[in-house]
């Protein structure tokens, strides 16, 4: 089976999510990559070095500069004329593009796969991760989005893919990019961090996030996450959100501070290797999934923990 993997990039480097998608694709067959964007020569070179990669299709055109689904989907649909599967990381870009491609091909997409069980059989989470469904496709071509935390990352070196330019399918003229606001952070990216310190509504305000959560995270070299309640209350920006509707993470250690553990939040972090919960309510649902729990006031415990580390 020939698979085409969407390369998630920021214009300069290949993002980690791509590497998990490559691993998923390698379980299906031959791996081809698609690098689309404007001025993406360096990205294409990096993509060609990913272990196991065959061909790297490069679509370099202004129409692809901001990965608008309206322009990208027809390009992918055309390339799918000689591929059997389109494999996409479950990033916001991937989730935006893949279903548009699936509909153009008249196939049903399988979202957020956790494992490859056969040529056309996959597992995926439903109901906020409260159930795992095994589904089999009867479509002629597959469109899959891949949950990054469920697959190991392919090695970034060792491959020798051949780079091949593909012609542009042009600007469809129905959408234009206006602007973007990317939150700046010195800390490790949430979805790839080994340790995550996450805060909830109990933090009470954004100052407490800065003075209590962040120093602990910095001491541990950890990424900072948050529950939806903390995001909605405006303590932190929304891209900190861990959960069904935010980011799905699976770090080595997840430290949940002042987070009750609602279904929605657990869906985003319950595959973490070790979960540590600090909460004053000993009946909080978070303690049902936590490996290590400490019942008490976070305003006393966390500063003490930070100072003793």
């Amino acid at each position: 089976m020939k698979t085409l993997v969407w390369v998630e990039h920021d214009g300069a480097a290949v993002k980690d999510a791509t590497l998990s998608a490559v691993t998923a694709a390698s379980q299906l067959g031959e791996i081809h990559l698609l690098v689309a964007g404007q001025g993406v020569g360096a990205v294409a070179d990096a993509a060609a070095r990913i272990a196991g990669v065959g061909k790297v299709h490069v679509a370099d055109d202004a129409a692809y500069a901001h990965a608008l689904a309206e322009n990208i989907a027809p390009l992918v649909a055309e390339l799918m004329g000689h591929h059997d599967a389109f494999v996409v990381p479950s990033t916001s870009t991937g989730k935006n593009i893949a279903p548009r491609v699936a509909a153009l091909l008249d196939v049903m997409q399988i979202s957020d796969i956790l494992s490859v069980e056969g040529d056309a059989t996959f597992t995926r989470p439903i109901y906020a991760g409260n159930a795992i469904a095994t589904v089999k496709s009867s479509d002629a071509k597959l469109v899959l989005t891949v949950r990054g935390t469920a697959f190991a990352k392919a090695a970034t070196e060792g491959g020798s893919g051949t780079i091949e330019a593909v012609g542009s399918t042009g600007d469809k003229g129905v959408s234009t990019f206006v602007s973007s606001e990317i939150a700046k952070s010195e800390r490790p990216e949430l979805t790839s961090a080994k340790i995550i310190v996450s805060g909830g509504r109990a933090l009470q305000n954004s100052e407490n996030f800065t003075t209590i959560i962040e120093p602990l995270a910095d001491k541990l070299g950890a990424g900072v996450g948050a529950s939806r309640a903390a995001v909605d209350a405006g303590y932190v920006p929304n891209d900190y959100q861990v959960g069904q509707t935010g980011k799905i993470v699976a770090p080595e250690v997840y430290i949940a501070i002042g987070i009750s553990g609602a279904i929605q939040h657990l869906a985003g972090m319950k595959d973490s290797k070790t979960i540590i919960a600090i909460n004053k309510d000993e009946d909080a649902p978070i303690f049902q999934v936590a490996d290590i729990g400490l019942v008490g006031d976070l305003f006393k415990i966390v500063p003490e923990l930070t100072s003793k580390l």
Binding site: P99, I110, G129, V178
Partner: protein, 249 residues
């Protein structure tokens, strides 16, 4: 401008889903069902656009069993003008739903179709994008702000790492994210009034659309259970555990 708002009846988000013992699915007998939370946000946004004078009519649409009437009545009570129910007892996938919605869009000629970004039962996040592909319209997915100006709509989208704004030609597709708005509650007088609002009943055959599923569910299982954890008494004991884990030296 007319706005279409597709809504889905799903297991209430507060209910913990239970996997059926025979592994065929989730037990939905005698459990509370309600409107998918993202769809409530979609209905609310459509109503706000009507209140601003941008929209003239709001049509709520649902596809599913007869009980989906309740979900449509909720949309009507919030402020939608009329409803269309496509009755089917069969499982319909996003691809089939998008095809039915495309047929309705051809008939109704809306300026905007606002959908939720995903349904909290299947967690697919596909229908809006698929409908956009079928209509050829622009898509503003995961919207946290929507601003109609003339024959375009500006949509601010929640993306990994922050937000981005795109401008789409109308007609267009928008899918809602959680922060787009706070949906209103239907008042009792409005719930009463909603009973008199028109609700058309159709079938998939009326639109000549093939909605046969492409995917077969082989089985549905409970996720692997986490083994029971331990509680520690104080910070020193917690640090001891962190050392065992190798998190701190």
């Amino acid at each position: 401008m007319k706005i279409l708002v597709p809504v889905k009846r799903v297991l209430d988000y507060n209910v913990k889903p239970r996997v059926k013992a025979d592994g065929t699915g989730i037990d939905l007998a005698n459990v509370k069902m309600s409107m998918n939370p993202f769809d409530e946000i979609a209905v609310e946004e459509a109503i706000r656009l009507k209140e601003k004078g941008v929209a003239t009519e709001i049509v709520a649409i649902s596809i599913g069993e007869q009980k989906a009437q309740e979900t449509l009545r909720t949309a009507l009570a919030m402020g939608a003008d009329r409803a269309i129910l496509i009755v089917t007892e069969d499982r319909v996938e996003p691809l089939g739903v998008a095809k039915l919605l495309k047929a309705i869009a051809d008939e109704e000629q809306p300026g905007l179709i606002i959908l939720g970004k995903q349904a909290i039962d299947d967690d697919n996040n596909q229908t809006g994008q698929m409908l956009a592909a079928m209509t050829g319209w622009g898509q503003g997915t995961f919207a946290s702000a929507v601003e109609v100006a003339g024959d375009t709509v500006k949509v601010t989208r929640e993306i990994d790492g922050g937000a981005e704004t795109v401008e789409l030609k109308l007609p267009a597709i928008v899918t809602t994210d959680l922060r787009l708005n706070e949906p209103r509650y239907a008042s009792l007088p409005n719930i009463m009034k909603a009973k008199a609002k028109p609700m058309a009943q159709k079938t998939a055959a009326d639109y000549g659309v093939d909605i046969a599923p492409r995917l077969t569910t082989v089985k549905v299982e409970e996720p692997a259970k986490r083994s029971a954890g331990v509680k520690v008494a104080d910070v020193d004991e917690l640090i001891g555990k962190l050392k065992t884990l190798g998190v701190v030296a």
